[in-house]
Structure formats: C-alpha cells, structure tokens
C-alpha cells in the first residue's frame, strides 16, 4: 500500500500521527508527511484508520 498526505489540505490536526506514528510524522508547523515508501501489511489497518479520521480529508491511498 502507498499513501500520501496532500500538503494543501493538511491543517496540522495530527490525528494521523496520533494513530500511526510508524507511518506519519508532523513537523513543527503542523505539516504531516508519510515517512515510509510502502506501508507494510501489518500497518495497513492503521493507515486506513488515519484516512478515516483526518478532519481535512487530506490523506489518500495511492495504491492498494
């Protein structure tokens, strides 16, 4: 699975980081980013949770 954060939509709620710090980081200004090239299978469920909890709809699954 590949996912990305749309930097124009992200407003720094940090819900993704709270749910899956293994997949996301958030910088000092609240900008989230994906820190893995591929989401390992055991973390896919967490990635989907992050997508479903982002208040800005800023996270998308690029390929499943």
């Amino acid at each position: 699975m590949k996912i990305r954060v749309d930097p124009d939509k992200c407003q720094g709620h940090a819900r993704c980081y709270g749910l899956a710090p293994e997949i996301f980081d958030v910088d000092d200004y609240g900008q989230a980013s994906v820190i893995v090239d591929e989401v390992p299978p055991e973390l896919e469920e967490k990635a989907r949770l992050a997508v479903a909890n982002c208040p800005e709809y800023a996270i998308e699954i690029v390929s499943d």
Partner: protein, 405 residues
C-alpha cells in the same frame, strides 16, 4: 449580566446564552437540524448558526465569504470602545492569528505553532503529570471534590503560564480575567474589566522581558524578526493575550466535561480503567461529544448561502460542537462510544484556523484523566448538589461536585 427573554422560536430567534441552551443544547440542535439547520437570530446582532457538519466545515474553509476579524460569539456593542482605559500599543489587529485573515494570520500563526508541536508538547508532560498529582493530593483522601474547580480549572492555566513564562501563582487571577472575557461577555463592565486586567498585566510583562529576555514565548515574540523587522508591539501583545485566553477556559472545559461523563457513566469509567490502551481513542470521542468551543465568523459581502440571505457584517456562529453530533457525519452521535474507530470530529475546528494548541489540549486532557483514574477509579456525581454549566463561546461544567470512596 444582560437578561434575555426566553426563546420561543429557536429557528428565528435563538440565543446561545438562554438557560435552556446552556443546560441542554443537544436536543435543540437535533430538532433544528431536521427543520432549520442554519437558524438565525437578531439578538445582539444579526447572526446565523450552522448545525450540520458539512455546513460548518464548508464555511470554515470559505475564508473569502467568512472573515475571522471578529470571532467573539457574544459581540460587543458597535459603539463600545473595548480598550477605553487601556494605555498601551494599538490593538487594531485584535488577537492574531485567531482574529486575523491571511496574510497576517499566516505569519503570526507560524510564530506560535512550534511552541505547540507534538515534540514540544511531549516535553510538557512531566510538569503536567506532577501538577495533576499535586492537585489530587489535596483532596483524594477527602471523599469528595469539586472536579471542575479543584481539578480541571487548575491544570491548563498553570501549564500555559509556564509556556508564556508568567507566574503560575497568578493562576486564579488569569482564570478570572479569561472567564470575564469569554463567559460573562454579556456583561459589558465585566468583559471590560477582564480585558483591561489581562492586557495591562501582559504589557508590564513584555516591558520586563524587553530588558531581561528569557527562554519563554513572550521573550521570543519580542526578539523575533519577520521580513527583517521586529513584530509590532500591538501584535505581540495580542498574540500573548490570545495564548492565555485560548489555552485556559477551553481545555479546562474539556477536562471537566469528560470527568462529568465518567462520573455519570460508570460502565465507560470502568472500561477505561480496565483498558488503559483505549485512552487515545476515548479522548477523541470525549472531545467529539463534548467539544467545548464555538467560534464566530463575519460575513464579508451580501450573498446567499444554502437559501440563507446573509448580509455583510452578519455573524456566523461556527457550531463545531453541533457538527460533532450530526447524524449524517457520525453513527449514533449522541452515544459516547469510547472505542469509536471512525471519528473525523472537528472539536478543534477545521481549515486554516484549526486550534493551534490542539496537541497541548489533547495531552492535558489525557494526562488529567489518567492521573485522576489512577488515584480515583471509582467516583460519581454528588447526589442533590448543583452542577453549573457555562456556555455560549465555551461550554463546560464550572461546579462539578463528585464523591468517591
């Protein structure tokens, strides 16, 4: 306090300070969402109040039609000078970035955000935990406490004082000023007193930092440069005041409401004690169900929004708490489900004004509940004792008597 006539028609004459709304806004939202999801009032000022998730978030993102220059839910009189007796720098920009639109919003927000990054917030955890334990030491053997006044109210103000670099000994005074400004805003005299007290205090603190800078937020604002120039004194003062105002009533209300929930829902309380790993998910659910903050926007031009004829200068009350209870966005929204997996709540707002202190608020709420539940796992509302709720801009319990073994 201005007395307002009882509301008989919530669709065309709502009042967020009405006793019925303070006691139970939830059922009012539920019936309005079905019949009139954007009610209007002419009380105080022509104002609209979107209640659906999609409307609240759409308006929060439409900064062209909805400005943040005036964010107070209870507006001041048009001809009232908010700073009549204040002899300091010009506060024409209010409290940026909350009361600002881009571009002022953008750069003032960037100055504040690093102070509330998750890494920085992690460094405030030990202090917060010690503070909670110390407060619990004060009453955990007594068998009863005011969970709002003795506990919730005491936590965020002291953490924020540490960040600002001002004395935590003045916490009760800070809390008084902030409540005057936010909760008693219908009382012009009281609002004025709170604003003057707070502004004059920060003015003297800034003067002190100018000669003896420290490693606190106030000192950084004074020494930082933007585009090669120091930040205007009025903007520094507004930002300092904002951090205190926004960091006190809000988080205290969230902690208080959460303790009210756990006191009155023993099955949830026992589950949280038995499954501490559930805490982060539970925190988000408590924030959703008891989101404390309603903000305002100002309509920038006459236009029609979903059939509502909005006029330039009208107020829009951004009812994030009501959005969080919208059945179109959340299954069984009035039921607290501590393990709710899909929870796109907007307790911290939405769009460019997302609460800059959200990481701090979450941490304080989590540490406050963890420490309370560790020390007092069993507690309930004290029978026959009055609970009082504040509402309007910030909703939460102000007196919350609880008993425990």
């Amino acid at each position: 306090m201005a007395q307002t006539a009882p509301v008989s028609d919530w669709a065309s004459d709502f009042d967020v300070m009405d006793p019925q709304y303070l006691a139970d806004p939830f059922s009012i939202w539920d019936s309005l969402r079905e019949t009139c999801p954007i009610p209007h009032t002419n009380r105080r000022k022509s104002s609209w109040m979107p209640l659906r998730y999609d409307d609240v978030t759409a308006i929060a993102h439409d900064i062209e039609h909805f400005s943040s220059l005036k964010v107070a839910v209870i507006p001041a009189d048009e001809d009232e000078d908010p700073n009549e007796n204040f002899d300091g720098p010009n506060l024409e920009y209010g409290l940026p970035p909350i009361s600002a639109d881009p571009p002022l919003h953008t750069w003032t927000r960037r100055l504040l955000l690093p102070w509330f990054s998750h890494k920085r917030v992690d460094s405030y955890v030990p202090l917060t935990r010690d503070l909670c334990r110390h407060l619990l030491d004060g009453f955990s053997d007594a068998g009863h406490a005011d969970a709002a006044g003795d506990y919730a109210q005491q936590i965020p103000v002291r953490v924020i004082a540490g960040i600002l670099g001002v004395s935590p000994d003045l916490s009760d005074t800070f809390t008084g000023w902030v409540r005057d400004i936010l909760e008693f805003a219908d009382d012009a005299e009281r609002r004025q007193r709170g604003a003057e007290g707070l502004l004059n205090y920060f003015l003297s603190q800034l003067e002190e930092r100018r000669s003896r800078p420290g490693d606190d937020l106030l000192s950084e604002l004074l020494t930082t440069e933007v585009d090669g120039k120091p930040v205007d004194d009025g903007i520094v003062l507004g930002m300092a005041a904002l951090v205190l105002i926004a960091g006190v009533d809000t988080t205290w209300s969230a902690i208080g409401s959460s303790l009210w929930h756990l006191a009155s829902h023993p099955e949830d309380r026992r589950r949280l004690v038995a499954e501490p790993g559930l805490m982060p998910t539970a925190i988000e659910e408590l924030l959703r169900a008891y989101a404390p903050v309603t903000m305002a926007r100002e309509v920038t031009q006459d236009f029609e929004y979903h059939g509502c004829p909005m006029k330039k200068g009208d107020k829009v009350l951004m009812n994030f708490p009501a959005a969080n209870r919208d059945p179109d966005a959340f299954a069984d929204p009035d039921i607290v489900q501590l393990d709710r997996a899909h929870n796109r709540h907007v307790a911290f707002g939405s769009g460019i004004h997302r609460c800059a202190g959200s990481n701090l608020a979450r941490m304080e709420l989590q540490v406050a509940l963890e420490e309370w539940l560790t020390r007092i796992p069993e507690f309930s509302l004290a029978e026959g004792e009055q609970i009082t709720w504040a509402g309007g801009q910030v909703r939460g319990p102000r007196v919350l008597p609880v008993v425990f073994p």
